[in-house]
Symmetry: D2
Subunit: 158 residues, 4 copies
Protein backbone atom coordinates (compact mmCIF):
# COMPACT_ATOMS: atom_id res chain seq x y z
CA UNK A 1 0.00 0.00 0.00
CA UNK A 2 1.42 3.33 -1.03
CA UNK A 3 1.38 6.26 1.34
CA UNK A 4 1.65 8.74 -1.50
CA UNK A 5 0.21 8.95 -4.99
CA UNK A 6 2.78 10.27 -7.49
CA UNK A 7 1.71 13.11 -9.80
CA UNK A 8 4.19 11.98 -12.43
CA UNK A 9 3.42 8.49 -13.79
CA UNK A 10 7.05 8.31 -15.00
CA UNK A 11 8.41 9.28 -11.60
CA UNK A 12 10.86 6.35 -11.54
CA UNK A 13 12.41 7.29 -14.82
CA UNK A 14 12.49 11.00 -13.98
CA UNK A 15 14.01 10.44 -10.55
CA UNK A 16 16.59 8.00 -11.85
CA UNK A 17 17.58 10.37 -14.66
CA UNK A 18 18.01 13.25 -12.22
CA UNK A 19 20.04 11.08 -9.86
CA UNK A 20 22.27 9.82 -12.66
CA UNK A 21 22.92 13.36 -13.88
CA UNK A 22 24.94 14.07 -10.74
CA UNK A 23 28.67 13.44 -11.12
CA UNK A 24 29.04 13.70 -7.33
CA UNK A 25 26.98 10.55 -6.84
CA UNK A 26 29.21 8.59 -9.19
CA UNK A 27 32.34 9.94 -7.53
CA UNK A 28 31.05 8.98 -4.10
CA UNK A 29 29.88 5.57 -5.33
CA UNK A 30 26.26 6.17 -4.30
CA UNK A 31 23.47 4.38 -6.17
CA UNK A 32 19.69 3.98 -5.92
CA UNK A 33 18.74 0.79 -4.05
CA UNK A 34 14.99 1.33 -3.74
CA UNK A 35 12.62 3.87 -5.24
CA UNK A 36 8.95 4.22 -4.30
CA UNK A 37 6.63 7.24 -4.23
CA UNK A 38 7.99 9.37 -1.39
CA UNK A 39 10.50 6.74 -0.27
CA UNK A 40 14.07 6.19 -1.38
CA UNK A 41 17.04 4.08 -0.31
CA UNK A 42 20.48 4.98 -1.59
CA UNK A 43 23.49 2.72 -0.98
CA UNK A 44 27.23 3.38 -0.80
CA UNK A 45 30.21 1.09 -0.30
CA UNK A 46 32.93 2.15 2.08
CA UNK A 47 35.84 4.00 0.49
CA UNK A 48 38.97 4.97 2.41
CA UNK A 49 39.23 8.04 0.18
CA UNK A 50 36.30 9.62 2.03
CA UNK A 51 37.36 8.79 5.57
CA UNK A 52 38.17 11.16 8.39
CA UNK A 53 41.13 10.73 10.72
CA UNK A 54 39.82 7.58 12.43
CA UNK A 55 39.02 5.76 9.20
CA UNK A 56 35.26 6.34 9.48
CA UNK A 57 33.35 7.95 6.62
CA UNK A 58 33.37 11.73 6.90
CA UNK A 59 30.18 13.34 8.25
CA UNK A 60 29.91 15.50 5.14
CA UNK A 61 29.84 12.44 2.89
CA UNK A 62 27.17 10.83 5.05
CA UNK A 63 25.27 14.10 4.75
CA UNK A 64 25.65 14.05 0.96
CA UNK A 65 23.96 10.65 0.92
CA UNK A 66 21.18 11.70 3.29
CA UNK A 67 20.55 14.93 1.39
CA UNK A 68 20.36 13.15 -1.93
CA UNK A 69 18.00 10.54 -0.53
CA UNK A 70 15.73 13.36 0.70
CA UNK A 71 15.93 15.12 -2.64
CA UNK A 72 15.04 12.05 -4.67
CA UNK A 73 12.23 11.09 -2.26
CA UNK A 74 10.71 14.56 -2.60
CA UNK A 75 11.24 14.51 -6.36
CA UNK A 76 9.18 11.32 -6.80
CA UNK A 77 6.08 13.25 -5.69
CA UNK A 78 6.54 16.29 -7.88
CA UNK A 79 4.82 16.98 -11.20
CA UNK A 80 6.66 16.34 -14.50
CA UNK A 81 9.26 18.93 -15.53
CA UNK A 82 9.84 20.15 -12.01
CA UNK A 83 13.30 20.96 -10.76
CA UNK A 84 14.28 20.52 -7.15
CA UNK A 85 16.69 22.14 -4.75
CA UNK A 86 17.56 21.78 -1.09
CA UNK A 87 16.54 24.64 1.19
CA UNK A 88 18.07 23.35 4.42
CA UNK A 89 18.84 20.22 6.39
CA UNK A 90 20.01 19.25 9.83
CA UNK A 91 22.05 16.18 10.57
CA UNK A 92 22.42 14.51 13.96
CA UNK A 93 25.39 12.16 14.11
CA UNK A 94 24.68 9.21 16.39
CA UNK A 95 27.54 6.77 15.95
CA UNK A 96 30.80 6.46 14.01
CA UNK A 97 30.30 5.78 10.29
CA UNK A 98 32.16 2.49 10.53
CA UNK A 99 31.17 -0.25 8.11
CA UNK A 100 31.49 -1.90 4.74
CA UNK A 101 28.29 -0.48 3.32
CA UNK A 102 25.93 2.39 4.07
CA UNK A 103 22.25 2.92 3.36
CA UNK A 104 20.54 6.32 3.23
CA UNK A 105 16.78 5.90 3.71
CA UNK A 106 14.53 8.91 3.15
CA UNK A 107 10.80 9.38 3.56
CA UNK A 108 8.59 12.32 2.69
CA UNK A 109 6.94 13.64 5.86
CA UNK A 110 4.89 16.38 4.22
CA UNK A 111 4.69 16.95 0.48
CA UNK A 112 3.72 20.42 -0.68
CA UNK A 113 3.27 22.39 -3.85
CA UNK A 114 6.34 24.53 -3.11
CA UNK A 115 8.06 22.96 -0.12
CA UNK A 116 8.43 19.30 0.84
CA UNK A 117 9.75 18.14 4.22
CA UNK A 118 11.65 14.85 4.40
CA UNK A 119 13.36 12.76 7.02
CA UNK A 120 16.23 10.36 6.40
CA UNK A 121 18.32 7.89 8.35
CA UNK A 122 21.78 6.55 7.59
CA UNK A 123 22.66 2.97 8.52
CA UNK A 124 26.06 1.30 8.49
CA UNK A 125 26.42 -2.41 7.81
CA UNK A 126 29.37 -3.77 9.77
CA UNK A 127 30.18 -7.42 10.41
CA UNK A 128 26.65 -8.36 9.42
CA UNK A 129 24.95 -5.96 11.85
CA UNK A 130 23.21 -2.72 10.97
CA UNK A 131 23.69 0.44 13.04
CA UNK A 132 21.77 3.71 12.86
CA UNK A 133 24.55 6.28 12.49
CA UNK A 134 22.80 9.54 11.54
CA UNK A 135 19.45 11.24 11.04
CA UNK A 136 18.41 14.15 8.85
CA UNK A 137 15.40 16.40 8.58
CA UNK A 138 15.32 18.64 5.55
CA UNK A 139 13.28 20.97 3.38
CA UNK A 140 13.24 20.67 -0.41
CA UNK A 141 11.81 23.16 -2.85
CA UNK A 142 10.07 22.46 -6.16
CA UNK A 143 11.13 24.62 -9.03
CA UNK A 144 8.86 25.03 -12.02
CA UNK A 145 10.80 24.20 -15.20
CA UNK A 146 10.17 27.61 -16.71
CA UNK A 147 11.49 29.31 -13.56
CA UNK A 148 14.64 27.25 -13.60
CA UNK A 149 16.82 30.07 -14.76
CA UNK A 150 15.37 32.53 -12.29
CA UNK A 151 16.29 30.32 -9.38
CA UNK A 152 17.01 32.58 -6.47
CA UNK A 153 18.17 29.87 -4.14
CA UNK A 154 20.36 26.87 -3.36
CA UNK A 155 22.26 23.96 -4.84
CA UNK A 156 19.99 21.12 -5.95
CA UNK A 157 20.54 17.75 -4.34
CA UNK A 158 18.88 15.74 -7.00
CA UNK B 1 43.21 41.12 18.95
CA UNK B 2 42.19 37.56 19.69
CA UNK B 3 38.70 36.76 20.84
CA UNK B 4 39.80 33.47 22.38
CA UNK B 5 42.84 32.30 24.31
CA UNK B 6 43.92 28.79 23.24
CA UNK B 7 44.57 26.21 25.99
CA UNK B 8 47.02 24.38 23.78
CA UNK B 9 50.10 26.51 22.91
CA UNK B 10 50.70 24.16 19.97
CA UNK B 11 47.15 24.50 18.70
CA UNK B 12 48.28 25.28 15.13
CA UNK B 13 50.37 22.16 14.86
CA UNK B 14 47.72 19.99 16.52
CA UNK B 15 44.88 21.33 14.36
CA UNK B 16 46.92 21.02 11.18
CA UNK B 17 47.92 17.45 12.01
CA UNK B 18 44.31 16.47 12.69
CA UNK B 19 43.16 18.12 9.48
CA UNK B 20 45.88 16.43 7.44
CA UNK B 21 44.99 13.02 8.89
CA UNK B 22 41.69 13.08 7.00
CA UNK B 23 41.81 11.39 3.59
CA UNK B 24 38.44 12.94 2.75
CA UNK B 25 39.93 16.44 2.81
CA UNK B 26 42.64 15.45 0.33
CA UNK B 27 40.11 13.73 -1.90
CA UNK B 28 37.88 16.81 -1.89
CA UNK B 29 40.84 19.14 -2.40
CA UNK B 30 40.16 21.12 0.77
CA UNK B 31 43.04 22.86 2.56
CA UNK B 32 43.56 25.21 5.50
CA UNK B 33 43.73 28.84 4.36
CA UNK B 34 43.72 30.57 7.77
CA UNK B 35 43.99 29.28 11.32
CA UNK B 36 43.52 31.40 14.41
CA UNK B 37 42.21 30.57 17.88
CA UNK B 38 38.53 29.81 17.33
CA UNK B 39 38.60 30.91 13.69
CA UNK B 40 39.34 28.88 10.58
CA UNK B 41 39.11 29.33 6.81
CA UNK B 42 39.26 26.30 4.58
CA UNK B 43 39.51 26.60 0.79
CA UNK B 44 38.51 24.31 -2.06
CA UNK B 45 38.85 24.60 -5.83
CA UNK B 46 35.92 23.65 -8.01
CA UNK B 47 35.92 20.09 -9.25
CA UNK B 48 33.39 18.75 -11.74
CA UNK B 49 33.65 15.37 -10.02
CA UNK B 50 31.67 16.75 -7.07
CA UNK B 51 28.96 18.56 -9.01
CA UNK B 52 25.25 17.92 -8.99
CA UNK B 53 23.10 17.86 -12.10
CA UNK B 54 23.44 21.58 -12.87
CA UNK B 55 27.21 21.64 -12.56
CA UNK B 56 27.19 23.31 -9.12
CA UNK B 57 29.04 21.76 -6.20
CA UNK B 58 26.85 19.26 -4.36
CA UNK B 59 25.33 20.47 -1.09
CA UNK B 60 26.88 17.54 0.76
CA UNK B 61 30.35 18.57 -0.33
CA UNK B 62 29.71 22.16 0.75
CA UNK B 63 28.54 20.72 4.07
CA UNK B 64 31.72 18.65 4.36
CA UNK B 65 33.75 21.85 4.08
CA UNK B 66 31.56 23.76 6.55
CA UNK B 67 31.59 20.89 9.05
CA UNK B 68 35.35 20.56 8.87
CA UNK B 69 35.83 24.28 9.30
CA UNK B 70 33.64 24.13 12.44
CA UNK B 71 35.54 21.12 13.74
CA UNK B 72 38.96 22.68 13.29
CA UNK B 73 37.80 26.01 14.76
CA UNK B 74 36.49 24.21 17.86
CA UNK B 75 39.63 22.08 18.03
CA UNK B 76 41.93 25.12 18.25
CA UNK B 77 40.43 25.96 21.66
CA UNK B 78 40.62 22.48 23.17
CA UNK B 79 43.33 21.23 25.55
CA UNK B 80 46.17 19.06 24.23
CA UNK B 81 45.37 15.40 23.52
CA UNK B 82 41.68 16.04 23.05
CA UNK B 83 39.72 14.31 20.33
CA UNK B 84 36.76 15.95 18.63
CA UNK B 85 33.58 14.78 17.01
CA UNK B 86 30.57 16.46 15.46
CA UNK B 87 27.30 16.16 17.37
CA UNK B 88 25.04 17.90 14.86
CA UNK B 89 24.88 20.64 12.30
CA UNK B 90 22.31 22.45 10.23
CA UNK B 91 22.98 23.90 6.82
CA UNK B 92 20.94 26.58 5.07
CA UNK B 93 21.60 26.73 1.35
CA UNK B 94 21.32 30.29 0.07
CA UNK B 95 22.56 30.27 -3.51
CA UNK B 96 23.90 27.81 -6.08
CA UNK B 97 27.47 26.67 -5.37
CA UNK B 98 28.71 28.10 -8.63
CA UNK B 99 32.31 29.27 -8.79
CA UNK B 100 35.96 28.54 -9.29
CA UNK B 101 36.88 28.50 -5.63
CA UNK B 102 35.08 28.12 -2.31
CA UNK B 103 35.91 29.30 1.19
CA UNK B 104 34.48 27.79 4.38
CA UNK B 105 34.80 30.25 7.26
CA UNK B 106 34.04 29.05 10.78
CA UNK B 107 33.95 30.85 14.12
CA UNK B 108 33.46 29.53 17.62
CA UNK B 109 30.34 31.08 19.13
CA UNK B 110 30.59 29.42 22.54
CA UNK B 111 33.46 27.22 23.64
CA UNK B 112 32.79 24.74 26.41
CA UNK B 113 34.52 22.00 28.33
CA UNK B 114 32.37 19.32 26.69
CA UNK B 115 30.42 21.03 23.90
CA UNK B 116 31.44 23.85 21.60
CA UNK B 117 29.01 25.68 19.31
CA UNK B 118 30.30 27.07 16.00
CA UNK B 119 28.94 28.96 13.05
CA UNK B 120 30.30 28.82 9.52
CA UNK B 121 29.64 30.43 6.16
CA UNK B 122 30.50 29.19 2.70
CA UNK B 123 31.46 31.67 -0.01
CA UNK B 124 31.88 31.05 -3.73
CA UNK B 125 34.31 33.06 -5.81
CA UNK B 126 32.95 33.46 -9.31
CA UNK B 127 34.18 35.90 -11.96
CA UNK B 128 35.98 37.87 -9.28
CA UNK B 129 32.94 38.33 -7.06
CA UNK B 130 32.24 36.56 -3.80
CA UNK B 131 28.80 35.17 -2.95
CA UNK B 132 27.52 33.81 0.35
CA UNK B 133 26.14 30.41 -0.62
CA UNK B 134 25.49 28.58 2.66
CA UNK B 135 25.48 28.89 6.44
CA UNK B 136 25.98 26.31 9.17
CA UNK B 137 25.45 26.16 12.90
CA UNK B 138 26.86 23.12 14.62
CA UNK B 139 27.78 21.48 17.90
CA UNK B 140 31.15 19.81 18.43
CA UNK B 141 32.11 17.56 21.34
CA UNK B 142 35.51 17.27 23.01
CA UNK B 143 36.67 13.76 23.69
CA UNK B 144 39.30 13.16 26.34
CA UNK B 145 42.11 11.10 24.81
CA UNK B 146 41.71 8.30 27.34
CA UNK B 147 38.00 8.03 26.54
CA UNK B 148 38.67 7.77 22.84
CA UNK B 149 37.87 4.09 22.68
CA UNK B 150 34.74 4.42 24.73
CA UNK B 151 33.30 6.97 22.34
CA UNK B 152 29.56 6.56 22.36
CA UNK B 153 28.86 9.03 19.63
CA UNK B 154 29.47 10.34 16.15
CA UNK B 155 31.93 10.60 13.27
CA UNK B 156 34.63 13.16 13.91
CA UNK B 157 34.96 16.00 11.44
CA UNK B 158 38.48 16.91 12.26
CA UNK C 1 7.51 -4.75 24.58
CA UNK C 2 9.74 -1.91 25.65
CA UNK C 3 12.39 -0.54 23.32
CA UNK C 4 14.43 0.82 26.20
CA UNK C 5 15.26 -0.39 29.67
CA UNK C 6 15.21 2.47 32.20
CA UNK C 7 18.20 2.80 34.53
CA UNK C 8 16.05 4.46 37.17
CA UNK C 9 13.30 2.13 38.50
CA UNK C 10 11.44 5.24 39.71
CA UNK C 11 11.69 6.95 36.31
CA UNK C 12 7.96 7.75 36.24
CA UNK C 13 8.03 9.53 39.57
CA UNK C 14 11.29 11.32 38.76
CA UNK C 15 10.13 12.45 35.31
CA UNK C 16 6.75 13.57 36.62
CA UNK C 17 8.36 15.54 39.45
CA UNK C 18 10.73 17.28 37.04
CA UNK C 19 7.89 18.09 34.68
CA UNK C 20 5.71 19.44 37.49
CA UNK C 21 8.52 21.66 38.75
CA UNK C 22 8.26 23.81 35.62
CA UNK C 23 5.96 26.82 36.01
CA UNK C 24 6.03 27.30 32.23
CA UNK C 25 4.20 24.00 31.69
CA UNK C 26 1.40 25.06 34.06
CA UNK C 27 1.17 28.48 32.43
CA UNK C 28 0.93 26.91 28.98
CA UNK C 29 -1.55 24.28 30.16
CA UNK C 30 0.67 21.37 29.11
CA UNK C 31 0.39 18.04 30.94
CA UNK C 32 1.78 14.51 30.66
CA UNK C 33 -0.58 12.22 28.75
CA UNK C 34 1.65 9.14 28.43
CA UNK C 35 5.00 8.22 29.93
CA UNK C 36 7.01 5.14 28.99
CA UNK C 37 10.76 4.50 28.91
CA UNK C 38 12.03 6.72 26.12
CA UNK C 39 8.55 7.74 24.97
CA UNK C 40 6.39 10.62 26.11
CA UNK C 41 3.15 12.28 25.03
CA UNK C 42 2.34 15.73 26.34
CA UNK C 43 -1.06 17.35 25.73
CA UNK C 44 -2.23 20.96 25.59
CA UNK C 45 -5.63 22.54 25.09
CA UNK C 46 -5.93 25.48 22.73
CA UNK C 47 -5.67 28.87 24.36
CA UNK C 48 -6.26 32.13 22.49
CA UNK C 49 -3.68 33.75 24.76
CA UNK C 50 -0.92 31.92 22.90
CA UNK C 51 -2.13 32.52 19.37
CA UNK C 52 -0.37 34.37 16.57
CA UNK C 53 -2.12 36.80 14.24
CA UNK C 54 -4.29 34.19 12.49
CA UNK C 55 -5.55 32.61 15.70
CA UNK C 56 -3.26 29.57 15.40
CA UNK C 57 -0.97 28.59 18.25
CA UNK C 58 2.37 30.37 18.01
CA UNK C 59 5.29 28.29 16.67
CA UNK C 60 7.31 29.05 19.80
CA UNK C 61 4.61 27.52 22.00
CA UNK C 62 4.45 24.43 19.80
CA UNK C 63 8.22 24.28 20.14
CA UNK C 64 7.97 24.55 23.93
CA UNK C 65 5.75 21.47 23.93
CA UNK C 66 7.99 19.53 21.54
CA UNK C 67 11.13 20.45 23.47
CA UNK C 68 9.61 19.41 26.77
CA UNK C 69 8.41 16.13 25.32
CA UNK C 70 11.97 15.44 24.11
CA UNK C 71 13.43 16.42 27.47
CA UNK C 72 11.11 14.18 29.46
CA UNK C 73 11.58 11.27 27.03
CA UNK C 74 15.36 11.54 27.39
CA UNK C 75 15.03 11.94 31.17
CA UNK C 76 13.17 8.62 31.55
CA UNK C 77 16.33 6.77 30.46
CA UNK C 78 18.80 8.60 32.68
CA UNK C 79 20.17 7.34 36.01
CA UNK C 80 18.71 8.64 39.29
CA UNK C 81 19.80 12.12 40.38
CA UNK C 82 20.64 13.25 36.86
CA UNK C 83 19.76 16.72 35.65
CA UNK C 84 18.93 17.43 32.03
CA UNK C 85 19.28 20.34 29.68
CA UNK C 86 18.58 20.97 26.01
CA UNK C 87 21.60 21.41 23.76
CA UNK C 88 19.76 22.20 20.52
CA UNK C 89 16.65 21.46 18.52
CA UNK C 90 15.29 22.07 15.08
CA UNK C 91 11.61 22.46 14.32
CA UNK C 92 9.97 22.04 10.92
CA UNK C 93 6.51 23.59 10.75
CA UNK C 94 4.24 21.60 8.45
CA UNK C 95 0.74 22.98 8.89
CA UNK C 96 -1.04 25.72 10.83
CA UNK C 97 -1.44 24.92 14.55
CA UNK C 98 -5.22 25.03 14.30
CA UNK C 99 -7.22 22.86 16.67
CA UNK C 100 -8.85 22.33 20.03
CA UNK C 101 -6.11 20.16 21.43
CA UNK C 102 -2.46 19.41 20.70
CA UNK C 103 -0.28 16.39 21.40
CA UNK C 104 3.52 16.46 21.54
CA UNK C 105 4.89 12.95 21.03
CA UNK C 106 8.62 12.34 21.61
CA UNK C 107 10.78 9.26 21.20
CA UNK C 108 14.40 8.67 22.07
CA UNK C 109 16.36 7.86 18.91
CA UNK C 110 19.73 7.29 20.56
CA UNK C 111 20.30 7.35 24.31
CA UNK C 112 23.82 8.10 25.51
CA UNK C 113 25.74 8.58 28.70
CA UNK C 114 26.22 12.29 27.99
CA UNK C 115 24.03 13.13 24.99
CA UNK C 116 20.63 11.76 23.99
CA UNK C 117 19.02 12.43 20.62
CA UNK C 118 15.21 12.58 20.42
CA UNK C 119 12.59 13.14 17.77
CA UNK C 120 9.13 14.56 18.38
CA UNK C 121 5.99 15.28 16.43
CA UNK C 122 3.17 17.70 17.18
CA UNK C 123 -0.40 16.82 16.23
CA UNK C 124 -3.46 19.06 16.26
CA UNK C 125 -6.92 17.66 16.91
CA UNK C 126 -9.48 19.65 14.95
CA UNK C 127 -13.09 18.66 14.28
CA UNK C 128 -12.28 15.09 15.22
CA UNK C 129 -9.35 14.74 12.81
CA UNK C 130 -5.69 14.70 13.71
CA UNK C 131 -3.08 16.60 11.69
CA UNK C 132 0.70 16.43 11.89
CA UNK C 133 1.69 20.07 12.33
CA UNK C 134 5.39 20.04 13.28
CA UNK C 135 8.45 17.86 13.78
CA UNK C 136 11.49 18.28 16.00
CA UNK C 137 14.87 16.66 16.27
CA UNK C 138 16.89 17.59 19.32
CA UNK C 139 19.88 16.85 21.51
CA UNK C 140 19.60 16.63 25.30
CA UNK C 141 22.48 16.51 27.77
CA UNK C 142 22.62 14.61 31.03
CA UNK C 143 24.03 16.51 33.95
CA UNK C 144 25.43 14.62 36.92
CA UNK C 145 23.81 15.95 40.09
CA UNK C 146 27.13 16.88 41.64
CA UNK C 147 28.09 18.86 38.56
CA UNK C 148 24.86 20.79 38.61
CA UNK C 149 26.46 24.00 39.77
CA UNK C 150 29.27 23.77 37.24
CA UNK C 151 26.84 23.65 34.36
CA UNK C 152 28.50 25.40 31.47
CA UNK C 153 25.53 25.20 29.16
CA UNK C 154 21.89 25.76 28.37
CA UNK C 155 18.42 26.09 29.84
CA UNK C 156 16.90 22.78 30.87
CA UNK C 157 13.64 21.73 29.26
CA UNK C 158 12.62 19.26 31.85
CA UNK D 1 23.85 52.92 6.35
CA UNK D 2 21.20 50.37 5.54
CA UNK D 3 22.13 46.90 4.37
CA UNK D 4 18.71 46.36 2.82
CA UNK D 5 16.28 48.50 0.89
CA UNK D 6 12.66 47.81 1.94
CA UNK D 7 10.10 47.23 -0.82
CA UNK D 8 7.33 48.53 1.38
CA UNK D 9 7.76 52.22 2.30
CA UNK D 10 5.38 51.63 5.21
CA UNK D 11 7.34 48.62 6.45
CA UNK D 12 7.49 49.94 10.04
CA UNK D 13 3.75 50.34 10.30
CA UNK D 14 3.07 47.00 8.58
CA UNK D 15 5.57 45.09 10.74
CA UNK D 16 4.33 46.71 13.93
CA UNK D 17 0.71 45.95 13.06
CA UNK D 18 1.53 42.29 12.35
CA UNK D 19 3.49 42.04 15.58
CA UNK D 20 0.71 43.63 17.61
CA UNK D 21 -1.88 41.27 16.12
CA UNK D 22 -0.30 38.35 17.98
CA UNK D 23 -1.88 37.65 21.38
CA UNK D 24 1.07 35.37 22.21
CA UNK D 25 3.44 38.33 22.20
CA UNK D 26 1.28 40.23 24.68
CA UNK D 27 0.95 37.16 26.89
CA UNK D 28 4.71 36.62 26.90
CA UNK D 29 5.38 40.33 27.44
CA UNK D 30 7.48 40.67 24.30
CA UNK D 31 7.70 44.04 22.55
CA UNK D 32 9.56 45.64 19.65
CA UNK D 33 12.68 47.48 20.82
CA UNK D 34 14.22 48.30 17.44
CA UNK D 35 13.00 47.97 13.87
CA UNK D 36 15.12 48.58 10.78
CA UNK D 37 15.01 47.06 7.29
CA UNK D 38 16.06 43.46 7.82
CA UNK D 39 16.96 43.97 11.48
CA UNK D 40 14.81 43.66 14.57
CA UNK D 41 15.30 43.64 18.33
CA UNK D 42 12.53 42.33 20.53
CA UNK D 43 12.65 42.65 24.33
CA UNK D 44 11.07 40.67 27.16
CA UNK D 45 11.14 41.07 30.92
CA UNK D 46 11.65 38.01 33.07
CA UNK D 47 8.47 36.34 34.28
CA UNK D 48 8.46 33.43 36.75
CA UNK D 49 5.36 32.12 34.99
CA UNK D 50 7.50 31.05 32.04
CA UNK D 51 10.36 29.46 33.98
CA UNK D 52 11.53 25.88 33.91
CA UNK D 53 12.44 23.93 37.05
CA UNK D 54 15.58 25.96 37.85
CA UNK D 55 13.87 29.32 37.55
CA UNK D 56 15.39 30.10 34.13
CA UNK D 57 13.15 31.05 31.21
CA UNK D 58 11.99 27.97 29.31
CA UNK D 59 13.81 27.22 26.05
CA UNK D 60 10.50 27.25 24.17
CA UNK D 61 9.79 30.80 25.30
CA UNK D 62 13.27 31.91 24.26
CA UNK D 63 12.55 30.25 20.93
CA UNK D 64 9.25 32.10 20.63
CA UNK D 65 11.14 35.38 20.95
CA UNK D 66 13.86 34.37 18.49
CA UNK D 67 11.33 33.08 15.96
CA UNK D 68 9.28 36.24 16.16
CA UNK D 69 12.35 38.41 15.76
CA UNK D 70 13.25 36.45 12.62
CA UNK D 71 9.72 36.71 11.30
CA UNK D 72 9.51 40.46 11.78
CA UNK D 73 13.00 41.01 10.33
CA UNK D 74 12.05 39.05 7.21
CA UNK D 75 8.70 40.84 7.04
CA UNK D 76 10.32 44.30 6.88
CA UNK D 77 11.78 43.38 3.47
CA UNK D 78 8.62 41.98 1.91
CA UNK D 79 6.27 43.80 -0.46
CA UNK D 80 3.01 45.30 0.86
CA UNK D 81 0.15 42.88 1.52
CA UNK D 82 2.43 39.90 1.98
CA UNK D 83 1.81 37.35 4.68
CA UNK D 84 4.61 35.47 6.36
CA UNK D 85 5.05 32.09 7.95
CA UNK D 86 7.92 30.16 9.49
CA UNK D 87 9.20 27.16 7.56
CA UNK D 88 11.77 25.93 10.06
CA UNK D 89 14.25 27.05 12.67
CA UNK D 90 17.03 25.59 14.73
CA UNK D 91 17.98 26.83 18.17
CA UNK D 92 21.29 26.25 19.93
CA UNK D 93 21.10 26.89 23.66
CA UNK D 94 24.37 28.27 24.97
CA UNK D 95 23.75 29.32 28.56
CA UNK D 96 20.93 29.34 31.11
CA UNK D 97 18.25 31.95 30.42
CA UNK D 98 18.92 33.71 33.72
CA UNK D 99 18.29 37.42 33.88
CA UNK D 100 15.95 40.32 34.41
CA UNK D 101 15.51 41.12 30.75
CA UNK D 102 16.03 39.40 27.43
CA UNK D 103 16.71 40.72 23.94
CA UNK D 104 16.05 38.80 20.73
CA UNK D 105 18.11 40.26 17.88
CA UNK D 106 17.42 39.06 14.33
CA UNK D 107 19.09 39.87 11.02
CA UNK D 108 18.17 38.86 7.50
CA UNK D 109 20.99 36.81 5.99
CA UNK D 110 19.43 36.28 2.55
CA UNK D 111 16.15 37.84 1.45
CA UNK D 112 14.27 36.10 -1.33
CA UNK D 113 11.07 36.38 -3.28
CA UNK D 114 9.68 33.21 -1.69
CA UNK D 115 12.09 32.26 1.09
CA UNK D 116 14.11 34.45 3.44
CA UNK D 117 16.83 33.13 5.74
CA UNK D 118 17.44 34.88 9.06
CA UNK D 119 19.73 34.52 12.03
CA UNK D 120 18.95 35.63 15.57
CA UNK D 121 20.64 35.76 18.94
CA UNK D 122 19.14 35.90 22.40
CA UNK D 123 20.87 37.88 25.15
CA UNK D 124 20.10 37.93 28.86
CA UNK D 125 20.74 40.99 30.97
CA UNK D 126 21.69 39.94 34.49
CA UNK D 127 23.25 42.15 37.18
CA UNK D 128 24.21 44.67 34.53
CA UNK D 129 26.02 42.19 32.28
CA UNK D 130 24.78 40.79 29.00
CA UNK D 131 25.20 37.11 28.11
CA UNK D 132 24.60 35.40 24.78
CA UNK D 133 22.22 32.57 25.70
CA UNK D 134 20.93 31.18 22.39
CA UNK D 135 21.24 31.36 18.61
CA UNK D 136 18.72 30.64 15.86
CA UNK D 137 18.88 30.14 12.13
CA UNK D 138 15.55 30.01 10.38
CA UNK D 139 13.68 30.08 7.09
CA UNK D 140 10.62 32.28 6.56
CA UNK D 141 8.20 32.12 3.65
CA UNK D 142 6.39 35.00 1.99
CA UNK D 143 2.75 34.42 1.29
CA UNK D 144 0.99 36.49 -1.34
CA UNK D 145 -2.12 38.02 0.19
CA UNK D 146 -4.44 36.40 -2.34
CA UNK D 147 -2.98 32.97 -1.55
CA UNK D 148 -3.51 33.45 2.15
CA UNK D 149 -6.38 31.02 2.35
CA UNK D 150 -4.64 28.40 0.24
CA UNK D 151 -1.70 28.27 2.63
CA UNK D 152 -0.38 24.74 2.59
CA UNK D 153 2.14 25.26 5.33
CA UNK D 154 3.02 26.35 8.82
CA UNK D 155 2.09 28.68 11.67
CA UNK D 156 3.13 32.27 11.05
CA UNK D 157 5.50 33.84 13.54
CA UNK D 158 4.66 37.39 12.74
Amino acid sequence: MLRFQPKNPDFRQAATATFNAQPAMRTLGISIARLEPGEVDLAMDYSAAFAQQNGFVHAGIITAGLDNACGIAAFTLMPPSTGILTVEFKTNLLAPARGERFVFRATVVKPGRTLTVCEARAYATHDGGETLIATMSGTLMALAAREGTAMDRAPAPA
